[in-house]
Amino acid sequence: MVAVPEPIKRVFDTFPLTTYSPIQSTTPGNELSIEQNKYYFEGERSDASFCLGVHNVIKLDSNDKKSRFIPSDPVSLGSSLILCYKNNLKLPTTDSKELQHSSGNSMLKLSFHAAPDRQLPIFLVDDEKSNRTVKTASAIKDAFVNQDVNKNEDFNVEQLILSNWIDTKLFDLWILCLLNEEIQHIDKLFNLDSELMKDPVPSYLLIRNLYHEIPNWQAFNTRNPNLFNHDPSEYAKNAIASTTIATKHLSSYYDLQLKELENDLPLWIEFLKTDVLKNSKAENILLFKLVGFVSSTKLQNS
């Protein structure tokens, strides 16, 4: 064995080789803040768990002292109700953080930037081996309702058509509503940072950033290029004057769609009164989807 020469040994002794323990990717503070934003569904525990990423939650007070949490936007609300229905869960309440109630499945407040297509809700599933799959908003929709009319056992043709009507027409109307109406509590609806919202400059940037993204949801601007094909000067004027970016084309289209809804809504009410009491799986899912939109609009108004 060759002896290490003295000068070299001295150099290495000055810098002793030590192995440090690995640095964790999350810190306790980080985990705590994730945990704070989580709202657990009530129900039985299982090995696999899921997490629904939503914009924000609203606290609903009820008579029995427990307050329930529901997502603030219609699509997430519909999704969370369908999830509860399919998995036999109950909506998160104020005491579902305690272990005996919680199911391990949760709703998580997120920024829309967290989703790969910058669109919420997203659905995170951890299976028994804690492999994680991420489902985007459109994948959730397909998972709830199988679009193949020949293979879908729960939905008949008519129900499938109606389900698609909700997904396309009402979702479009929701996007149009966001773009056209001046919304009072936009920061609460999309969980914008309250500290930043105090200052005019960052709040302006946050809102612009949000409005920039909204037309991309469900490929709305791709499907309606004629609405965004407007005069640039008109766009800039609107952007400075107010928080909405409605232009002539957009607002006319919004009016048009509202008129159609006015026509269709009584039909829906009649349909729900007479047909949906049979309590099949498909009809319940339809109902939850619709309820998501209707009750969210009601909450925005109150």
């Binding site: 193949d148 109606l162 290029p225 006319s252 159609e260 026509n263």
Partner: protein, 351 residues
Amino acid sequence: MLSLHVWGSYSQSDKNGSDISIISPECVASSWLLVDRLGDQEDVKYEIVTSSNTNLSDIGKLPVLITAESKFHGFNEISGYLFQNFQSSSASRTVATAELTHKQQLINSGLLAHLQHKIEYINQYNLYINTKNYEKYTRKLFQHYLPFPMMYNQPLKFYNHAQTQIQVLGLNKNKTGFFDFSGNIQDDVAETELVNEGEDDEDEKDEVALSALHERQLLAKSKEKSMLRESKNSLKCLQLLDGYLTFFLKLSDQSTANGGEYGYLFSGKGASSSEVLLFAYIYCLTHQDLPDRFIYNLLRIKRAKFLEFADGHSQKWNDQLLESDVLRAPTGEETPGLWNEIKYRSGFVKY
């Protein structure tokens, strides 16, 4: 006076030269409905203007129906107005939405959304993304619709829209990776990828003689590849279309009056507004002037009775259109010319 503004061309000398364009099935359906409802009403004057001028519409999209009092945009609103205000004549083949039961009305409006959100993009694929149809047919159409120099930009704009829109259905001209959510459109496959695939390396020694041949080989190979990709997309498109049409076929099966054959969905009396739009889409998808009629071939083999039924209606309505002689060319400020565009942009003219 009712005037319906649509995409199309009009020629005074040749009656068959006038045409309502298949680039917008909603325009076709609205015109059909107009002649069907008003065809033999003496007291109502109406015209169809092939203005091709989207500035006329408040939502930037044709068709638009202009009456003395107001404007009606899109097929849904136009059909609603026509059904509400004009009684059906004996020759009419349509049934007003109000005559249906409430549930049927709801399904009808669901089917309209289904057509406008799904089959619309099949039509876009067929007209713009299918290379043969686009280069030999669709692109050339615009010179009849728009005056110089407006016809250069418009087809390109529509082509770009179509290219992003077909991605909504998952049809994509170019390959994208599994994790590519951004939907960026890459221009082409890198040249080097093709060069490396050639296995006969010995031939490359003689640079001058063989590089031209080699180049030709490579070109042929890349052409073959893009053709393969396109036929794969076309097959996928056919499969999607077939799935979408199943909705209508199943509904027709449920309707007892039809006795096994394809027929009216809701009422034996005639077609509802969603069916008129469906026939318009089928007419546009299977139009006889298209160089690549792959959709027609599929429907002829697989859904012959359905195609026959749809064709019968579009044939009749088209004949009625030709007879009634209500088409006219745009005049004055309706023309989609450069001068009018400038006036519109600068605010001198408001529609």
